[in-house]
Symmetry: C2
Subunit: 191 residues, 2 copies
DNA sequence: GTCTATAATTCGATAGAC
DNA sequence: GTCTATCGAATTATAGAC
């Protein structure tokens, strides 16, 4: 008796191991320094398998950098707490998943990674902010400002590892940064 | 009759040309993708000259990434406008000099560049913020928060080139972001 | 499906002529 | 001081045996 339905092939485990190792290496070393050889070694498989499954290094990165921000529906959050909800959500997401850090690092030097990141923040964050109402153009601008603070937090804390930012607890960070995001989202447009 | 005093040697021009080309390449491509060969081609000199003058690629980067933020003395600024002064200063600095963008890109993948950047922000920005008074520990934390917003702005505008952030004028950016920096600098410590 | 062997580039760095 | 020539290492990617 063989497996039924989605047919859990043996290769799926290999594929998953490669992706897991790839995300870690891309997050730790960036796109250029993360080599297929090192990723394969981490995953305990042969380097040629990576090529077989993903075609090229670009293809591997594209598969490893698939990412859903899983943003909460901001319409279901009290309007004066959307900033807090967003900051808390992002911190949770980062502390538990390397993928976004890998994207930040890779986007610094790899045009494809940068394009993917622009897409993620324009589409997913842009849509969430547009859901708050207001004119769509202003919403995109507000989303961009939110991205500037959120990504700056990610850069200083997880990539640059600036000591004062690393030392703050997630709760402290929320307390300091949430008002910033709140104002970008719902504050008045400055003169 | 020969030159007197500091003796403007012919090689100084070559040296300066190399550094200028290096800053551009490091800013555009990051540390790994910026090759000595490409930098030498931009500077219209032979690749081996780079090695002769700077010893190694690391040595070249160290020389090219020398950077002074030239922060204004915040003690001479009205206390309710220090945020505006800082944001305006950083924007001016970025729009006229590639070096800091080169550092942001390089710091993503190169440990030496990251260390240098931590030093710049801890020492120079840290000192400027400490000059505002208050306890030193709190000042470093406030400086770190300012760095998170300032570097996030640099990352989204100059590295990632996120359209909504690129499209804003410097004046608009100051109007939006200055209140954030002002609060990090002089606002109350959150509960 | 998995691995060995290797092709084809590209890079940083060195040696040495002029 | 400047350039030619090249070494040695590392990389992605391919061809093909088992």
């Amino acid at each position: 008796m063989t497996d039924t339905a989605p047919r859990a092939r043996r290769s799926d485990a290999t594929r998953a191991a490669i992706l897991r190792a790839a995300r870690e290496r891309f997050a730790a070393d960036g796109y250029d320094r993360a080599t297929i050889r090192a990723i394969a070694a981490d995953a305990r498989i042969d380097p040629s398998m990576v090529m077989r499954y993903f075609g090229s290094k670009e293809g591997l990165f594209a598969a490893a950098a698939e990412f859903d921000l899983r943003l909460p529906d901001l319409a279901g959050v009290p309007r004066d707490r959307v900033g807090e909800a967003l900051v808390r959500h992002f911190l949770d997401r980062w502390e538990s998943d390397d993928t976004l850090v890998a994207l930040v690092r890779a986007a610094s030097t790899n045009p494809g990674a940068a394009e993917r990141m622009r897409g993620i923040f324009a589409d997913q964050l842009g849509a969430a902010v547009t859901g708050l109402g207001g004119d769509p153009t202003g919403a995109l601008r507000r989303a961009g400002l939110v991205a500037s603070q959120i990504l700056g937090l990610a850069f200083t804390r997880y990539v640059l590892r600036l000591p004062p930012v690393v030392d703050l607890t997630p709760a402290d960070l929320v307390a300091w940064v949430a008002p910033t995001v709140q104002r970008y989202l719902t504050g008045p447009t400055p003169a």
